[in-house]
């Protein structure tokens, strides 16, 4: 049988219906702004600290490393070393962690069809941190620097699957169920972490405490070389999955009706969320609410289409966390505040506002 094409019913001579154009300009503008902001912030953040290095010298140092003999080198004798051994690894880690967590949030919200899903809120971060805590306490090193990342991934994967299975009913995830499931999972993982604190020695204890607070203090290149590839794999996977996540917002059944293999997309997305969360948590601890705030704000600017949302969230998350880390280490003289504290301070009220707003809109609680 021949397939018929729907033909416009408009009488002859009527103009063809015009379709609105896509919002390319808006997305491009956002990407442009974020890229510039990220670049500027990188130079500024690297210069700030106990040893102040002016922006032009930071730039000069970067250019010299790239083999370009341009700009001034840091005037301080320790300047170049401070930049490349302390500041840049930390800046790079902030970018990697921010991008991972924000992308994980966007992905998770897409999979759950719920704008309140976020790795820390639903307990995935806590699960990954608990598993990573085991590595610290028992000093496991079978895979070198990778050990902690492997454990964080496993912990994240198990908790994401748990949340998914427990909070789902009739092919949907209700807001209340999701948030309450998060409380339950967070409680169990906190108990696990408390137990690790109890049995650990003083050094392990201190390390785990900082973990729970979230901090980029003491980041080394070795850590970045582990976290960055994991984040890269997760991000590429997330972008490839983006189009399918759009379809998923129709709901399970309607998505299947338009040809989406819903279960496969779900499993893929869950593995990616675990990967991205592992990259975010393995060396930085629990940095909450980045995955909630960033995708939400990005959605307000460019709409919910995941092909733009996922990469834009990753970029915005990277910039945001870089800024937050700058505040964390410069707000109080001689003190390095935990970055998780800063993000939670901002993210907590935001979460509350989002909760109120979601409740007000039709179907928010269902």
């Amino acid at each position: 049988m021949t397939l018929t094409t729907p033909r416009p019913s408009a009488p002859a001579g009527a103009t063809e219906p015009r379709l609105p154009r896509t919002r390319v300009a808006r997305s491009s503008a956002l990407f442009g702004v974020l890229l510039v902001a990220g670049a500027v912030l990188t130079v500024v953040a690297a210069g700030r600290g106990q040893l102040e290095i002016p922006a032009d010298e930071v730039l000069g140092s970067i250019l010299h490393r790239l083999g370009l003999d341009l700009g001034p080198m840091p005037t301080h004798p320790q300047g170049d070393a401070a930049l490349w051994q302390v500041r840049f690894p930390r800046v790079a880690m902030a970018l990697v962690v921010g991008a991972s967590l924000a992308a994980a949030g966007a992905l998770m919200q897409g999979v759950f069809g719920n704008p309140l899903a976020e790795p820390a809120v639903v307990g995935v971060s806590a699960g990954a941190a608990f598993a990573a805590g085991i590595v610290i306490v028992y000093q496991l090193t079978f895979a070198g620097e990778w050990t902690i990342a492997i454990f964080a991934f496993a912990g994240g994967l198990v908790t994401t699957l748990l949340v998914y299975v427990m909070s789902r009913a009739d092919g949907r995830t209700e807001v209340v169920t999701l948030v309450l499931t998060g409380i339950a999972i967070n409680a169990v993982c906190s108990a696990g972490l408390a137990f690790l604190l109890f049995i650990g020695d003083t050094q392990a204890r201190e390390e785990i405490v900082f973990w729970q607070l979230g901090s980029l203090n003491g980041t080394r290149w070795q850590y970045v070389w582990v976290a960055a590839p994991i984040a890269a794999v997760g991000l590429v996977g997330a972008v490839l999955l983006a189009r399918k996540l759009d379809i998923l917002s129709l709901g399970d059944r309607a998505a299947r009706h338009v040809g989406l293999d819903v279960e496969r997309v779900r499993i893929g997305a869950i593995v990616l969320v675990a990967l991205l969360t592992a990259a975010g948590v393995a060396f930085a601890g629990i940095v909450a609410f980045v995955g909630l705030v960033v995708p939400h704000v990005v959605r307000m600017i460019v709409g919910p289409g995941h092909r733009v949302l996922v990469p834009a969230s990753a970029l915005a998350g990277a910039v945001l966390l870089l800024g937050a880390d700058l505040v964390a280490r410069t707000a109080v003289d001689t003190a390095d505040l935990p970055i998780g504290m800063i993000t939670s301070l901002v993210g907590g009220p935001f979460f509350f506002w989002l909760l109120r707003r979601t409740r007000r809109t039709a179907g928010g609680w269902s």
Binding site: P6, A10, L19, R253, R256, G259, R299
Partner: protein
């Protein structure tokens, strides 16, 4: 093309919902599924859509069991308008309609996406809503947007679950006219309908379900009989002909209604 359901039994949570149902749909035909609440209309539609696997019996598309057809391949052959229209995020109407084209991604048909989407939106009267955010639409606008998505999927089989439920007279006539036009163009269309007069006016064939069984299956003139309908619905009706259309009018319940105090005091 033929979609055929034979000897289908469906049990949901221990409750027998469909019993020994035989229905077949053919191209060029608009089939209406009618029956009282809980008769199994939506369940039968779900079986036809391949969402629900029957406990017994067969569901075959061109002789192949529907359960064995890949999700993507099935989506190129049948589209479904669900009863409930939800969307997790605030996509624009145009984006929602475009989702109907997703089974054709990577095929030659993809090149005509814009043309097909524009035509579908024009026919369902949603082209002026294109930039609106779907969750902010009224119930009727949502239904029509979903119908546009279903039409843009360009499939041989179109299954509609209560397409007129949230619509006013003008738009429900438009939707049914559109369904009929699809049938005329060679599609096989199945619609679950509540309003018997609407079903009688537009359907080529009406299948009456009651208690999970097919009670009648035939052209409106054969099926829309007062005695049959009265028995199936447990309520007396009149069937009259008005301007060549069969109109079903339920009797009012004449039990003396208690005299109630008027809500608004009469001046």
């Amino acid at each position: 093309m033929s979609l055929r359901v034979q000897g289908v039994d469906v049990t949901i949570a221990g409750h027998q919902v469909l019993t020994d149902v035989d229905v077949s749909i053919a191209p060029g035909e608009l089939l209406a599924l009618v029956g009282p609440n809980g008769a199994g209309k939506t369940t039968l539609l779900n079986v036809l859509a391949g969402d629900l696997e029957p406990r017994a019996g067969s569901v075959e598309l061109d002789g192949r069991p529907v359960a064995g057809i890949r999700v993507r391949d099935l989506a190129r052959r049948r589209a479904v308008l669900p009863q409930e229209q939800r969307l997790a995020f605030g996509f624009r109407v145009i984006d929602v309609v475009r989702m109907g084209r997703s089974p054709w991604t990577g095929t030659a048909a993809e090149d005509r996406d814009d043309e097909v989407v524009a035509a579908a939106m024009d026919r369902t009267d949603v082209i002026h809503l294109a930039e609106r955010i779907y969750p902010t639409l009224s119930g009727g606008e949502k239904s029509r947007t979903s119908l546009a998505r279903v039409i843009s999927q360009a499939t041989e089989i179109v299954l509609l679950d209560e397409p007129t439920a949230a619509l006013d007279i003008r738009h429900s006539e438009q939707v049914l006219t559109e369904a009929r036009r699809l049938a005329r163009a060679g599609h096989a269309v199945v619609a679950v309908l509540h309003d018997l007069s609407i079903a009688a006016a537009h359907a080529d064939r009406i299948c009456v379900l009651a208690d999970g069984r097919v009670r009648a299956d035939g052209p409106p003139s054969e099926v829309m009989r007062p005695d049959l309908l009265a028995e199936v619905y447990g309520h007396p009706v009149d069937v009259i002909t008005h301007r060549d259309r069969l109109v079903v009018i339920p009797h009012t319940i004449d039990d003396a209604l208690p005299e109630e105090a008027p809500c608004v005091p009469t001046p």
